[in-house]
C-alpha cells in the first residue's frame, strides 16, 4: 500500500518508497553552514509557516534583516545566547525524490570529535569552503576525516560566490588546490559545486549567474547520487544481537531465532554459515520477520535468522558465510586508528571496555605508535599517547576473541568504541586497520 500525497506544495508523489540519504556537513565558523542548511530546508519547503514566522520575528528583533536563514538551525539556549553551535544536530527533510538526514557538525569546539561522529553514519560529506578564503585548515580537516571514515561520497561546496563576482577563476583555483592537496586520500568520488547559500545560487535552483558551471545544483546532486551500490553485498556479516525464544508459548515451543541487523551480504536460506568465534558451521534454514519469512535479506535490514542445527549461539557471536574468500579475522589483539574523545589522554597501559558490533570485551592499550596530522593525514611518530581530538594508531590486547574485518572492508564490523569503565563515557572511536607488524 502506498501513500500518495502532496507535500508542502510538491507535486503528488509516492513518498513511502523514497530512499534515505544521510549526509554530514561541516565548515569553519562563518563559512555559511547554517545559512546553507536553512536554505536547503527552506527551498525544499521543509520549513513550515510557524517556524518561518518565528525566524522572521527573531531576525527582526535582532536586527539581522528580513530573514536570517541561519536561525533555523539554532538549537539550545546557550547556542542562541553565544551565537555558536555546541553539538552535532540531526535534521530531516524530504523532497519528492529522497528523504534526507543531515548531521550538522559544528566546526570549532570539539571539532574532530563532532566530525568523526557525524561522518560515521554518513553516506556523503558536504564540505563548505568560503570562496574568499579558499581551503582553510577546517575544510581540509573535514575532508580528511571523511576520507578516513570512508564516507562514500564527498561534495565540496564553494560558498559565497556572490562575494567574488561569481568568478570562475576563483572556483577553478580552489578546485585545483583541493585536487592537488587530496592526492593520496581515498575518496570514492568528489564533486565540486559553486554556490551562494545566501542568494540561493546553485542550491536548489540552477544559477544563471554562473553559466560556466555545467554541473547540477547541490540539491539535484543530493537527490541523484547513487548510494545503493555503497553497501557490501558480497561478504555475509550478521552480528547476533538477541536470541528470540518464546518459551511459554506452545505454538513456538521449539522456536529459536537469532535476531540482528545485517552488516553485510545478500543473505539467502540454504547456504552454509559459520558462527564465530567458535567456528562451528551449520546451514541458514530461514530468514524470519514478524511479517513472515523472507527469501533474501540485505543491509541494513533487521531480521531473525533460523539455523538448521541447535548450536550454542549467543549475543556477540558473528554469523558469516562458510568458505568466504575474505573471512573475518578472529583474534585477541588488533591494530586500529583511534579518534580520542576524552580529556584524559589515551596512553599505553590504559584499560577500557571495547564495544564491537554486539560484543563487548576489555582492551589494554599495548602501544601507541603514531598520530595523524588531521589536515594532511601525514603520520607523526608519537609514543606519548593521544590527547583529546587526536587521531592515532594503537595496538590493543583483548580479554577475549573478536571476529572482525578491517574498517576499509566493512564499516560495521571494522569499527568499535572505547568506554571508560570508571565514568561510563564513550572516550574513543576505533577503525580497525591491517596490522603493520
Amino acid at each position: 500500500m502506498t501513500a500518495i500525497a502532496s507535500t508542502n506544495g510538491h507535486p503528488a508523489v509516492d513518498l513511502s518508497t523514497t530512499e534515505l540519504l544521510r549526509f554530514a556537513t561541516a565548515g569553519s565558523v562563518d563559512d555559511g553552514k547554517s545559512t546553507l542548511i536553512g536554505r536547503l530546508l527552506h527551498d525544499a519547503k521543509s520549513i513550515l509557516a510557524d517556524q518561518l514566522a518565528h525566524v522572521k520575528e527573531t531576525s527582526e528583533r535582532r536586527g539581522d534583516g528580513e530573514l536570517n536563514l541561519a536561525l533555523l538551525t539554532d538549537g539550545l539556549r546557550a547556542e542562541r545566547e553565544q551565537g555558536i553551535t555546541i553539538d552535532v544536530a540531526y535534521r530531516s527533510f524530504q523532497t519528492d525524490k529522497r528523504r534526507f538526514i543531515i548531521a550538522d557538525c559544528p566546526g570549532h569546539e570539539q571539532y574532530t570529535r563532532n566530525m568523526v561522529t557525524g561522518a560515521s553514519t554518513a553516506d556523503l560529506a558536504l564540505v563548505l569552503v568560503d570562496a574568499r578564503n579558499g581551503l582553510v585548515r577546517q575544510s581540509r580537516r573535514h575532508a580528511a576525516i571523511s576520507a578516513l571514515l570512508r564516507t562514500p561520497h564527498l561534495v565540496v561546496a564553494i560558498n559565497k560566490m556572490d562575494l567574488v563576482d561569481y568568478d570562475q577563476s576563483v572556483y577553478d583555483a580552489i578546485v585545483e588546490d583541493f585536487r592537488s592537496w587530496s592526492v593520496g586520500l581515498e575518496f570514492a568520488e568528489a564533486t565540486f559545486i559553486p554556490i551562494s547559500a545566501l542568494k540561493g545560487d546553485n542550491v536548489v535552483e540552477r544559477s544563471e549567474r554562473m553559466p560556466w558551471y555545467s554541473g547540477p545544483p547541490l540539491l539535484d546532486h543530493l537527490e541523484t547520487v547513487e548510494i545503493a551500490g555503497d553497501r557490501n553485498l558480497e561478504d555475509w556479516r550478521f552480528p547476533v544481537q538477541w536470541v528470540v525464544r518464546p518459551q511459554n508459548d506452545d505454538a513456538h515451543h521449539d522456536y529459536r531465532g537469532y535476531a540482528g541487523q545485517i552488516a553485510a551480504g545478500l543473505l539467502r536460506a540454504g547456504e552454509e554459515v559459520v558462527v564465530l568465534p567458535s567456528g562451528r558451521t551449520t546451514k541458514l534454514a530461514g530468514i524470519d520477520t514478524m511479517d513472515g519469512p523472507l527469501e533474501e535479506a540485505f543491509p541494513p535490514q533487521s531480521v531473525t535468522l533460523l539455523l538448521e542445527d541447535d548450536l550454542d549461539i549467543s549475543r556477540g557471536d558473528l554469523i558469516a558465510r562458510a568458505g568466504e574468500a575474505n573471512p573475518p579475522t578472529v583474534a585477541r589483539e588488533l591494530e586500529a586508528v583511534v579518534c580520542w574523545m576524552a580529556d584524559a589522554p589515551l596512553k599505553a597501559g590504559g584499560r577500557y571496555a571495547l564495544k564491537h558490533t554486539t560484543r563487548s570485551v576489555r582492551a589494554i592499550v599495548e602501544a601507541v605508535d603514531w598520530h595523524l596530522d588531521v589536515e594532511t593525514l601525514a603520520r607523526i611518530d608519537n609514543e606519548d599517547g593521544l590527547a583529546l581530538n587526536e587521531i592515532g594508531h594503537v595496538k590493543l590486547r583483548l580479554s577475549g576473541p573478536l571476529a572482525f574485518d578491517t574498517y576499509a572492508r566493512n564499516r560495521e564490523t571494522g569499527s568499535f568504541i572505547l568506554i571508560d569503565e570508571a565514568t561510563n563515557d564513550t572516550v574513543g572511536a576505533g577503525l580497525i586497520a591491517t596490522p603493520e607488524g
Binding site: A5, S92, Q94, R411
Partner: protein
C-alpha cells in the same frame, strides 16, 4: 530485484536495532506509552523486534487524570491485544501524596507534574532504561539529543555532556539510580510516522479523526471543553468538527478544524500542512522560546 530499502524500511530497521540493543544491554527497561500515535508506532516496532516472543519489558503510561477518555479506553484495549503488561503511574496519586502540587487558574495544566510521577515510577520500579517516542523534528532542543539520552540520578538531561554516538554502537552503561531515555524513532518525521501507520494499518484512538466536539477558542487554538479547564471571560463553547494531531492532556492539546475522517485523508492533510505539529497543537511549548529545553533538563519525556 533491487536491493534498496525505502526510507521507511531503513528507519524501521534502525529502530528495531535500537530496541534490541536496549533489551540486551540494560537490565530493566520500560516502554513509555501515551496512547498517542508515536507510542503506538513504538509498540508496533517492539512487536517487530521481539515476536514471536513477549516483550522483555513492561509498558508504562503516565496518566495525568486529564487524558481524553477515548485514549484511555484505546490504551487498555491495545495493550490487551498485544498481550503485554501495563503499568499505570498516576499523577493524581503524586498529588494526593504531596509529591506534586496542582497548578491553579484558567491555564492550569498537569503537563509539568508528569515529570515528578515519571521519575518516581522509574525509581520505584528501578527502571534503567525508558523508551520514548520523541522525534528530532518535533522541537529544536530535540534535534541535539542523542538516541540514547543519559539521565543522572535526578533524571536531568545535560545537553553539554552527551555521549558521542558513532556508527550503530550505542553506549547504554548506567550506574545504579541513573537511567537512559531511548528514542528509537528519533530520526522519523511526523510524516514518516503517519505513513508508517498507514502502511502497517495501525489502529489509532478515534480523536485523531474528524469528529464533532464542544470546543472553545484560546490563543488562536481550539481546546476541548471539559471539567478540567475553566473558561475565561469572553470564551464560549461551540461545536466544531475537529481532529487531533497529537495526543496530550485535554487541557493543553489543541484540536485542528478538519473533516478528514479516514487515515488516507489525514495523511494527505498532514503532507500538505504548512504548520508544525507542536505549533498547531501544543500550548505547553508556546510559553517561552526554550520551554521544551527547560522541561527536558528537568527530566520530562
Amino acid at each position: 530485484m533491487s536491493h534498496e530499502l525505502s526510507h521507511l524500511d531503513a528507519l524501521e530497521a534502525e529502530a528495531i536495532h535500537i530496541m534490541r540493543e536496549v533489551a540486551a544491554e540494560l537490565e530493566r527497561p520500560v516502554l513509555l506509552f501515551s496512547g498517542g500515535k508515536d507510542s503506538i508506532v513504538l509498540l508496533r516496532l517492539a512487536e517487530k523486534a521481539f515476536r514471536p516472543a513477549r516483550f522483555p519489558f513492561p509498558v508504562m503510561h503516565v496518566d495525568t487524570g486529564h487524558n481524553f477518555p477515548e485514549v484511555i479506553e484505546f490504551r487498555d484495549r491495545l495493550v490487551e491485544q498485544v498481550g503485554e503488561r501495563l503499568i499505570v503511574a498516576s499523577v493524581q496519586e503524586s498529588i494526593d501524596k504531596g509529591r506534586a502540587v496542582e497548578e491553579t487558574g484558567p491555564r492550569a495544566s498537569r503537563n509539568r507534574l508528569q515529570t515528578v510521577t515519571l521519575l518516581d515510577a522509574i525509581a520505584e520500579h528501578q527502571f534503567d532504561a525508558a523508551f520514548g517516542g520523541a522525534r528530532r523534528d518535533e522541537e529544536r532542543a530535540r534535534a541535539k539529543e542523542r538516541i540514547f539520552s543519559f539521565r543522572d540520578d535526578f533524571g536531568q538531561w545535560d545537553p553539554k555532556a552527551q555521549r558521542p554516538e558513532l556508527w550503530q554502537l550505542y553506549n547504554g552503561r548506567v550506574r545504579k539510580g541513573e537511567h537512559v531515555r531511548v528514542f528509537p524513532i528519533s530520526n522519523w518525521t511526523e510524516l514518516d510516522v503517519w505513513q508508517y501507520i498507514e502502511r502497517e494499518r495501525l489502529e489509532l484512538p478515534t480523536i485523531y479523526f474528524a469528529h464533532e466536539r464542544p470546543v472553545f477558542a484560546r490563543d488562536g487554538m481550539l481546546y476541548a471543553a471539559s471539567d478540567f479547564v475553566q473558561l475565561q471571560d469572553g470564551e464560549e463553547v461551540f461545536t466544531e468538527t475537529v481532529r487531533y494531531r497529537t495526543v496530550g492532556d485535554m487541557t493543553c492539546t489543541g484540536a485542528v478544524a478538519s473533516t478528514a475522517a479516514t487515515l488516507e485523508t489525514v495523511v494527505a492533510e498532514i503532507a500538505a500542512t504548512d504548520i508544525t505539529e507542536r505549533g498547531q497543537t501544543r500550548a505547553d511549548d508556546r510559553v517561552t522560546e526554550a520551554a521544551m529545553e527547560d522541561r527536558k533538563r528537568e527530566g520530562y519525556f
